[in-house]
């Protein structure tokens, strides 16, 4: 389902119509299921699939790494799963899916958040930056450079989240001392234990006076 850009997705009128269709869908599939003999119920499931594809999705417009997307998604799709499974931006990682590890950290309108605990539809009109959008072409962001130089990772899996968090940590003004960095980077677990090097990388960028 696509939507014209001038339609207001938060207009209650539109929403009610959408819900009404969904309620109709529920009723009609229930009726259909009643009318069918058991072996055909599976067939009904296939039919549901087509209808569901049309009606259970919602339009959402957002910007990721400077690129505008007009999408149609199920409301239950998290921002993380949208990025990874639908937009093929697999740099953002799933480590726990419950906001307990920070591997999925991205920036939304410049703020670091856990993309696993927010719905894609909630990001209407937002600007999202993922690890793929941090470098300027071939020129790495100073934090990316510092992570390489100070070996702020081993396996690399938490690294996109660590780097997105680190950039925000410096921008927020929470990189004033190693102790402050350790506290404000504690929302990003690194099971390989590269913390000491992560602190060194962030300190180096902060002290280097780079624009982050």
């Amino acid at each position: 389902m696509s939507q014209a850009p001038n339609e207001n997705p938060s207009c209650p009128g539109k929403r009610d119509k959408h819900e009404a269709r969904r309620d109709f869908l529920k009723q009609s599939s229930a009726l259909m299921a009643l009318a069918l003999t058991p072996p055909l119920v599976v067939k009904a499931g296939e039919h549901d699939e087509t209808i569901a594809g049309l009606f259970e999705k919602m339009p959402v417009s957002l910007e990721v790494n400077g690129k505008a997307y007009q999408l149609s998604v199920e409301p239950r799709v998290t921002l993380l799963d949208l990025l990874r499974e639908q937009l093929n931006l697999t740099g953002t990682k799933k480590g726990c899916d419950h906001g307990q590890c920070g591997a999925c950290t991205v920036h939304v309108n410049g703020q670091r958040i856990n993309s696993c605990l927010t719905l894609a539809v909630m990001q209407e009109g937002k600007k999202i930056t993922t690890i793929e959008g941090l470098a300027q072409g071939d020129t790495l962001h100073p934090v990316q450079e510092a992570f390489i130089k100070h070996d702020g990772f081993q396996c690399g899996y938490c690294t996109p989240g660590q780097i997105m968090s680190a950039v925000a940590c410096i921008r927020e003004g929470h990189a004033g001392s190693p102790e402050e960095i350790r506290e404000f980077m504690s929302g990003n677990i690194c099971r390989c234990g590269a913390y000491d090097n992560i602190v060194a990388a962030i300190t180096a960028v902060k002290q280097g006076g780079h624009t982050v």
């Binding site: 299921a33 119920v41 599976v42 499931g45 549901d48 699939e49 569901a52 594809g53 259970e56 199920e74 239950r76 799709v77 799963d81 990874r84 499974e85 931006l89 697999t90 740099g91 953002t92 990682k93 799933k94 480590g95 726990c96 899916d97 419950h98 307990q100 590890c101 690890i131 793929e132 470098a135 990316q144 992570f147 390489i148 130089k149 070996d151 990772f153 081993q154 396996c155 690399g156 899996y157 938490c158 690294t159 996109p160 780097i163 190693p178 960095i181 350790r182 506290e183 504690s186 929302g187 990003n188 677990i189 690194c190 099971r191 390989c192 234990g193 590269a194 913390y195 000491d196 602190v199």
Partner: protein, 727 residues
């Protein structure tokens, strides 16, 4: 000659991929037409499945199938009549439930959300049976595995007769690897007998071999990709039942299927460090010479497999002690099978032994560092062999100086800083330095670049980076022109990345294949290049990527160009000789910690860590340091925070998530100094490099508990040392 590459602090060769999000881990792949899977797992801990009602799930939008033991394709490698049932869990084979969380069905749908939701719609009924998950209640079931015989040197239980002695029990709970990357697999049957998988593994060849046996396909029809692995710490050393389940689902549905398990399932599906109950008796003369050590351990395993590891082995060989006896037993519980977790059994055992040494030192009123030095083993007391290299005494000295060991008070509870009690602790670690067998191919291209391939793995230590450095030194080719490729089953055979042996094993193969390449280039030059005519291949020198004979020099690349060869490939297999018959080969570590303990709340904060590694040549000082601090952070978790808790009424974990199972966060870690002996082992391999991955963690927990004792006078023998235990 150009500067040697080995020993440099080179940046990781894959660093750029990792910091830009372009390194692709298994779940980042998306074969055309891929479907998503979600598991249905058992909430009962023992019993049988009596019915599976998948109707509702099958009706849900987008669901392709629900696969279980009722409809899974047969696995030809499952042996129905095998007399020994302890061969691993045969997933979807029958209706038996052995442990809570065991997968009973896999649901496949066209989106992740639909698969996950549909899995919640599958209704499974069970005939529940009595389960056993409580280690302490089932100690009576302990048995001795046939490969784990009692050990005796000298007299049994000699510690009891010693003028100074003690006996104590040390317990560790179940700990879970919990790498950041969730486990899973993408399975794709490209044809009915051609299987491709994207796996999270420490060994692509090992996965290939297991699949070969299970599905009885030739190796050539099984492809395993695993270039980037988001940490494993041992859980990737074998293939797990849910991976086979996914392969079965993909076979049935005939489409690629991706499974990524949940964090909760990381506790039940991919192994863990078993719980262990250990008893140590230790005795010494009044002047501190050890006279006897007894070390007995009981650890849990699963109902269907016997998992064993080297928990008691360190006590046999760490100290010069004439009388040592050890015993190791298993208790089967209704849990999944454990698997080696970093440091493996040695880390479990080291906590007990190195705590007991500290307790003995306290009784002797002796500095525990002095006690260790006094009982230093100059030759291996178990194997009665000289060490290939051992610089443990130097390591003790270096570490003690760095942490400021002289500030430690022999009497506990004497020091304070800002209202916190201060304590210093230390411990040692040891792990066998191994070298296995590996094959590598080296392809020299006419543009002067070199590509080396081996089916090795990199779960984080920086395998390719180290291999490039080794190859750069072996060939004289600039490291920037060398690429090392790993993680593909199509590459030449390499063992799993485990037991701290990758640099030793694969590095030797890389070194040797480079030598073979040079040999081949020499032969080509000798036979076909006029300037080298009459110079025997073995007399041609190799320097900086050039062939040299007298004043004649020729670039390797130029040789290929002259021969009109686009590239030249040689393949070499490399393995250890009989060195092990003549030498005891071990890596050693020494850990020192300074801790703060808050007297009112029992909170422990580690303020400073010094870890020293005697691991032979350090190939890359940057990545080696990272490996050491990583092991230390794992050790902090073992010491202070990690414990998987089971409610035995249900046989079910209650803290199976990252919020309640506490792996250390950044704020838990202090500045850490890593020191390397960095002296070449003359025996083990051409590089002289011993392993480092395990010793980084082995012993560390004791260094913390010993420091906590020094700070408070309280001895905590049950890990982890949470605040409630010190209040």
């Amino acid at each position: 000659m150009k500067k040697q590459a080995v020993g440099q602090s080179m940046d990781r060769v894959d660093g750029r991929l990792k910091v830009t999000g372009t390194a692709r881990y298994f779940a980042d792949h998306q074969p055309e037409g891929m479907l998503y899977a979600a598991l249905v797992c058992s909430p009962v801990s023992s019993g049988r499945i009596t019915a599976i009602d998948a109707a509702k799930a099958l009706r849900a939008p987008g669901v392709a199938d629900v696969v279980s033991h009722l409809n899974a394709p047969p696995v030809p490698g499952y042996k129905a009549d095998n007399p020994n049932p302890k061969q691993g869990l045969k997933i979807f084979y029958d209706d038996r439930i052995y442990s809570n969380g065991q997968p009973v069905a896999i649901v496949v749908a066209n989106t992740l959300e639909r698969a996950v939701h549909a899995a919640s719609l599958v209704k499974v009924t069970y005939a529940q049976e009595v389960h056993k998950t409580d280690m302490d209640e089932n100690m009576g079931q302990a048995f001795q595995h046939k490969n784990m015989k009692d050990y005796l040197r000298g007299e049994a239980d000699a510690w009891k007769k010693a003028p100074v002695h003690l006996e104590a029990e040390y317990n560790i709970p179940i700990e879970v690897h919990n790498p950041m990357e969730l486990a899973g697999i993408i399975a794709h049957w490209e044809t009915p007998d051609q299987l491709t998988v994207y796996a999270k593994t420490q060994g692509v060849k090992s996965v290939q071999q297991t699949l070969k046996t299970l599905f009885q396909l030739p190796e050539s029809q099984i492809t395993v990709h695993s270039r980037f692995v988001g940490g494993a710490f041992g859980m990737g050393l074998r293939i797990w039942p849910m991976e086979v389940a996914t392969i079965l689902a993909a076979k049935k549905i005939r489409k690629p299927v991706k499974l990524v398990i949940t964090r909760k399932d990381m506790f039940t599906l991919v192994g863990y460090r078993p719980a262990a109950r250990q008893r140590i008796g230790i005795g010494a003369t009044t002047d501190g010479k050890l006279t006897g050590i007894t070390h007995e351990a009981v650890a849990n395993t699963s109902p269907y497999e016997d998992f064993t590891e080297a928990i008691v082995n360190m006590s046999r060989m760490m100290y010069a002690c004439p009388n040592v006896n050890t015993r190791y037993q298993l208790v089967p519980l209704n849990l999944s099978t454990p698997v080696w977790m970093r440091g493996p059994g040695e880390a479990t055992g080291a906590f007990a032994l190195e705590s007991a040494i500290d307790e003995l030192a306290h009784q002797l009123k002796m500095d525990p560092l002095q006690l260790r030095i006094l009982n230093h083993a100059d030759t291996d007391p178990e194997k009665h062999l000289p060490y290939s290299s051992k610089y443990l005494k130097e390591a003790y000295e270096m570490g003690a100086a760095k942490i400021g060991w002289q500030q430690r008070s022999q009497t506990p509870g004497q020091l304070q800083e800002n209202g916190w009690l201060v304590g210093y602790g230390m411990s040692s670690g040891v792990f066998s330095a191994g070298r296995g067998r590996a094959t590598a191919s080296a392809t020299l291209k006419a543009d002067g670049t070199l590509v080396i391939r081996s089916a090795a793995a990199d779960i984080g230590p920086g395998t390719a980076t180290a291999m490039v450095q080794i190859a750069a030194d072996a060939t004289g080719i600039d490291a920037k022109k060398i690429e090392f490729l790993l993680g593909e089953s199509a590459y030449p055979e390499a063992p799993r990345q485990g037991g701290s042996s990758t640099v030793s094993t694969v590095g030797s193969a890389v070194n040797d294949v480079c030598r073979s390449l040079q040999q081949k280039l020499g032969e080509m030059a000798s036979a076909g290049i006029p300037a080298f005519k009459g110079v025997k291949a073995e007399n041609i020198q190799h320097e900086d990527g050039q062939l040299v004979a007298g004043n004649t020099r020729l670039d390797y690349a130029a040789l290929l160009q002259l021969q009109q060869l686009p590239e030249l490939t040689v393949t070499t297999t490399s393995q250890a000789g009989d060195e092990r018959k003549h030498y005891a080969m071990y890596s050693f570590s020494v850990h020192f910690t300074k801790v703060h303990v808050h007297p009112a709340t029992g909170v422990v904060r580690i303020k400073h860590i010094v870890s020293v590694a005697d691991s032979g040549t350090v190939v890359n000082t940057k990545t080696a340091r990272s490996q050491m601090i990583g092991g230390v952070v794992g050790g902090i978790g073992m010491a202070l925070t990690e414990e998987a808790l089971i409610d035995h009424r249900y046989g079910r974990y209650v803290n199976n998530n990252y919020a309640d199972y506490h792996v250390p966060v950044n704020a838990d870690t202090p500045p850490t100094d890593v020191l390397f002996i960095n002296k070449k082992d003359p025996v083990i391999n051409p590089m002289g490099a011993k392993g480092m991955g395990e010793i980084a963690l082995i012993g560390f927990a004791a260094a913390v508990s010993n420091a906590v004792f020094n700070a408070t006078g309280k001895r905590v023998r049950d890990l982890p040392i949470t605040p409630d235990k010190l209040i």
